[in-house]
Amino acid sequence: MTQVAILPDPLAEVAPPRGRSGGAAWAIWLARRLGLAVLTLWLVSVLVFLATAALGDPVRAILGRDYNTNVGRREQLEAQLGVGDSIVTRYVDWLSGLLTGDFGTSLANQQPVWQQISDTVVNTLVLVLLAALVMIPLAFGIAMISAHYRRRRPDTVIQVVLLALAGVPEFVTGILFVALFSTSVFHIFPAVTIDSPGGKPWDTPKGMVLPVATLVVAVTPYVSRIVRATLLEVLDSDYVELARLKGIPESVVMRKHALLNAIVPGIQVIALQLAWLAGGVVLVETLFAYPGVGRQLVDSVRNHDVPMVQALSMIIAGVYIVVNLVADILSILLTPRARTAISS
């Protein structure tokens, strides 16, 4: 189980402060964790800026062969990107813009970036939330069935299928779904999202089915495998054995003793997968022409639209950091062992 090995341990972050009361220790822990998140976000912004503005020459990439002939357009683009200034000045300008909510102007259509992004962010959030709502009960259900039949035939079959699915890239599953359900075999669902101006993609619920299903298939295997591993660990433990010996029915043992203990690792792996979805939507949205952040990012990269790419990647990385932060706080709150480690 390689996936288990890379799960971060929230306790590793905790240095139990000695000689303070519970509340103060909590505040210190929280402040430290928040500080780390802010520091990470700042370093991310440096990295995003350097990667987009300093590594290549976006103006040359946009103009291509016209670079030498179309001098007017070149100078206009260079002025907009501030190519003449030093990299530090440009970074500080950009960062102060970000902090005051000014995301700059798109190079491709000269519209403010924020105006174009705000709708797509909502669209993507809806897509990811729908996928999560389907994925969480499904993953826990599969894990419980698998743990119930542990190390027997049904468990083995489920595990091999999950493992096989876990490796397949999400857009490959997506294309197979499109071929199966909309073009070649059945004709049930539309192959692309219908994106009417002014309307929302979920106005036609049928169009949402395949994108959501693709995301669900992409993340369920990981969550399910880790929850199963945790369930098995708990089911083998002494206190579950004792509960069984006392004559408690197996279904109650599973629900009360095993499942509750699997929730914390569950939350962490769900958070990791939600954070992964922030990047996973890039391909799925492009495949289904879903009007979200991911497709917009791919379009902007194709157009070499530097300000758009910078804003979108900051949003995606920001979501990742926030999701991880929330997961860490939740798993500390839900683990009695960790709570006492902090406040005692």
Binding site: M1, T40, A61, G167, V168, V172, I175, A191, V282
Partner: protein, 281 residues
């Protein structure tokens, strides 16, 4: 599935690997796909960019694609690129990641803290995003750029695993003994620490190869490629997507190859992971 019931110390790692069904199955599939990718170009009925007939015709096993190239031949030519780039990117990512992880674990203290914090920054980028961000400012990226980008996006993830494994080794007696004998730090790492990490690192390499294939295919699918006309499983999906209803094989053939390839490498990686942990589930 305790296929490795033998006592832990007697047979070597590779002897035990041969007895593990999941690993052997994944390994065989991986080898078959690799052999196909490497040797099929020599027996392909048409050349890589050769027109075989009208677009979307039914000639040949899989028909022709959107400009009339033979799909089977394109499929046979399109594996090498994906294979070579994925393997090299995995190698770059593994070397960088192991280096970072082992130095952090062996250095300890302040080094460890700083290195792992910087690692967290890189981890905040989904892998495909890191590649896309850099490709914004580059037109028609060369193969080495793609290899470097994918390798770089693997490195922080490998580093975290490598650090975890190395932490369990650097405090063991034989490492302390080597240090006490006055060995150089670099020599202790190469001769004492690394050989004891091979099992988990092989498993990680298998997993990274799986993801590399996915990202290489994804970049082709999104249309970011060095040579837009070349046969490449990822690009084939992109080129023929609009014709999915008329000529499904032009898309489905490369899609299935990628799916089989990744299933093979992932089963292989998981088999290796089980072996290195000597666990039984």
């Amino acid at each position: 599935m305790s296929t490795t019931a033998s006592p832990p110390s007697t047979p070597s790692f590779f002897q035990r690997a041969r007895k593990q069904k999941r690993f052997m199955f994944g390994f065989t599939v991986t080898l078959l796909v690799m052999a196909f990718a490497l040797f099929a170009p020599f027996v392909a009925p048409y050349g890589e960019k050769e027109t075989a007939g009208p677009p979307y015709a039914k000639d040949g096993l899989f028909g022709t694609d959107y400009v009339g190239q033979d799909v089977l031949s394109r499929l046979m030519h399109g594996g090498v690129g994906v294979l070579v780039i994925s393997v090299l990117a995995t190698a770059v990512g593994m070397v960088l990641g192991i280096l970072i992880g082992v130095v952090a674990a062996y250095g300890g203290g302040w080094w460890d803290e700083v290195i792992m914090r910087l690692n967290d920054v890189l981890l905040a980028f989904p892998q495909i995003l890191l590649a896309l961000v850099v490709l914004t400012a580059v037109r028609n990226p060369a193969a080495w750029v793609i290899i470097a980008l994918i390798g770089l996006s693997h490195a922080p993830r490998v580093a975290r695993v490598a650090r975890g494994v190395a932490l369990g080794i650097v405090s063991r007696d034989f490492v302390v003994a080597a240090e006490a004998l006055g060995e150089k730090r670099s020599r202790v790492i190469v001769a004492e620490v690394l050989p004891n990490m091979i099992g988990p690192l092989l498993a990680e390499a298998g997993l990274r190869l799986t993801y590399s294939i996915g990202i290489v295919a994804a970049l082709g699918f999104l249309g970011f490629a060095a040579d837009p006309g070349a046969a490449n499983w990822g690009q084939m999906m992109n080129e023929n997507r609009l014709g999915l209803a008329t000529q499904p094989w032009a898309v489905l053939a490369p899609v299935l190859m990628i799916a089989i390839f990744t299933i093979g490498t992932n089963l292989m990686a998981d088999g290796l992971a089980q072996l290195s942990q000597r666990g039984d589930d």
